[in-house]
Symmetry: C2
Subunit: 420 residues, 2 copies
């Protein structure tokens, strides 16, 4: 068996929210420990059930070190010993799995018309999945905060009843979210400069876990990265197909949020110069030529109300299935425009995978081929630079799931709960 190379790992140092301009943090022994604990945790996540010996062989860590790390993780109730292996030569191995029972990660997705809450255990398995209607578009920001906090509280009490400790809460918002978790602009919600993370922490008064806020597309990308069928992909772009279009950008294995946290605003890239007007005041934005709001405006007489997005999409699907030439033509045009947007992404970022999410999933049978064809035709690198176009399998709760995944990510990168 090949011993893995050990050339230059990146230590986890306590640089969570380090000020920009702060150079690289110095490291000490606790960083080594944190790094290795995270390594073992992630290995078990990806290879459960597995033995201490497996971990040592695959990671290159010493057997003794692995034993110590595993004991630590068991103390923290992150791992659990399960049965022994049988029918094998040699001493049977005690297998290890993630302990699903003591913790929960909570994600809430805020939308114009509804609010989705999910909780998952350490393994990422769903514990709870709620969907409530929610007057996000019409309520004030304060009311919205109260509504979100109410749901969060109910989720937390439910988890507490199951004897689970909540490790964190992340809220997904469709809009520009800065790096502090403050919503700078969310047109569909009618929000501007709402310090959602701060307000929520205040309303939940000392919840005992971190409260984060991020963009829905970013969190959708995290959901795909963790729960999607893309083994070990390090460069991925997720596209939300809602009323608007947003992108979540993962490069080298991590979300890239840009200088202020506003990356991924692909929806307002100009695709058709002089094209139809967009609510943002410009013309020909990707959102108006490949977004679903604009599509429905053209297929549904009398315009689209955000609250009724899903049934209207279903109607489009039915008409497409029935072969309605008007709808098929609109979908083909949409696919062409979307393909041009994907082509831009492929040229500029060269991701391994672009995932179509949201309602694009339902429309995939009629748009996927054309989108891919346009993307390939527009990338300089042969074969799109290896970029694959796939359809999300996560359904509509992707951002909420990604919000929960965000919590698990912080655990995986070293923020472990204290031992009992």
């Amino acid at each position: 068996m090949m011993r893995p190379t050990r050339n230059g790992a990146q230590l986890i140092t306590n640089t969570q929210g380090s000020a920009p301009g702060t150079g690289p943090q110095p490291a000490d022994f606790t960083d080594v420990r944190a790094t290795n604990l995270a390594v073992v945790l992630r290995f078990v996540r990806e290879n459960a059930p597995c033995s201490r010996a497996d971990i040592a062989a695959s990671t290159g860590l010493n057997k003794a070190t692995v034993s110590s790390l595993v004991a630590d993780l068991i103390d923290r109730r992150l791992l659990r010993e399960t049965g022994l292996t049988e029918n094998r030569v040699g001493r049977p191995a005690t297998m290890l799995v993630l302990d699903g029972s003591p913790y929960a990660a909570v994600g809430i997705e805020v939308n114009v018309d509804y609010l989705t809450a999910v909780a998952v255990d350490l393994k990422g398995e769903a514990l709870l999945s709620w969907r409530r209607s929610f007057p996000g578009g019409s309520a004030s920001a304060g009311q919205a905060v109260a509504g979100i906090a109410g749901v969060a509280r109910r989720v937390v009490t439910r988890m507490t009843k199951e004897a689970r400790q909540v490790l964190g809460l992340t809220v997904a918002v469709p809009g520009l979210v800065d790096l502090t978790g403050s919503v700078r602009l969310a047109p569909n919600m009618g929000w501007r400069d709402v310090d959602l993370a701060g307000d929520l922490a205040k309303v939940l008064r000392d919840p005992g876990f971190p409260v984060l806020v991020d963009n829905d597309a970013n969190l959708g990308a995290l959901a795909e990265l963790r729960f999607g069928p893309h083994g070990g992909v390090r460069d991925l772009v997720y596209l939300t197909g809602e009323i608007g279009v947003g992108a979540g950008i993962v490069l080298d294995g991590r979300l890239r949020r840009g200088g202020a946290g506003f990356s991924g605003e692909i929806g307002h890239i100009e695709i058709v110069p002089g094209g139809p007007p967009c609510h943002c005041g410009r013309r020909g934005c990707l959102e108006v030529v490949a977004g679903l709001g604009a599509l429905l405006d053209r297929t549904v007489p009398g315009g689209v109300s955000p609250a009724e997005l899903e049934p209207e999409i279903d109607e489009v699907v039915q008409r497409a299935e029935a072969g309605d030439p008007v709808v098929l033509d609109l979908l083909d045009t949409l696919a062409g425009n979307l393909g041009r947007g994907v082509g831009i992404v492929a040229n500029l970022l060269n991701p391994e995978v672009v995932v179509l999410g949201g309602y694009y999933v339902k429309l995939a049978p009629w748009i996927l081929a054309r989108v891919e064809q346009e993307m390939l035709a527009r990338t300089l690198a042969p074969g799109g630079g290896g970029c694959r176009l796939v359809v999300s399998g996560l359904g509509y709760g992707a951002a909420a799931l990604g919000a929960a995944a965000r919590v698990l990510d912080s655990v995986d990168s070293g923020r472990l709960p204290a031992p009992a």
Copy 2:
């Protein structure tokens, strides 16, 4: 004085070219040491001259640890003690500076018509800057490799004569370079699948230093990051203004190359649907509506020969200075199109800075304002999300300088020369 927080630094672990899919590398003590050596080295680079006590106070490392690390770096001839401080209360401090004398980092920029070689010392100060004409467009790849190797050899012997050890050589190429340093496609050079890094290493037969190859825009971005006046910027995009247009993308402090290394191909994003044809076979690419090759085709009668790019640009500048309305109009159109490209970048990546490089520098007086205006008008985030547009001050050797910076980067991130 505030003690810096020490919460979660990222250790340098020996993961230079770790296989994709390989999880995070486990860490051991040597990683801690490497991380801290790099921290001290970088601190001195940014704060020279400074004392051991300064380093300890600012980094949070223990004084004893700093002494040990500094001794190690002095052994490796990376640091040097200089004089003592005077006229201060207390014991005078022995000041430390980067030792400029024993090492050199070499960068070579390959272009269609010329070849630029630079060498810098540890401080980044230029030791040598050559520019040779070079029949890159007409020669075969093999001849080109021989030519590059020849120049490299001369630089190395020159450095050796000055008693300097060459720490590495990086070659900048205008084209698609994969992650192994193989040139997949360089239209202007007429190259396809040339394993430049491998071939050079072979021709230089065991040069004793690593030979890397990267895209010219990527390396331009590194040059801006290290030598440009952008203090501590973590998200930056560099645009090359040559015959074509390329982008080098830095996010969270590091180059992001994409899954295959082909990121940054902004030149072949479709800006004007149905626009003028591009040599790549498509229409309306940024390159043909904002590239300098296309500009010169319209201003210089009889088309442009790549070998004469600079004088022709100078002629455009003269005509612009003279107020030639045709040229001014063309430049304004170019600026509008370029601004749309920059707007795409700002929306998608939200960099703190976009740097215009190459020959855009000479044209800046006539294009900068319009480019910025278009960029701001097209970004969803207010104020362009904080994105500043600046002109490079590095001149034409930016990619070569960045190639050398690439070598220094690898030193800064822990790849230190062995002690004497």
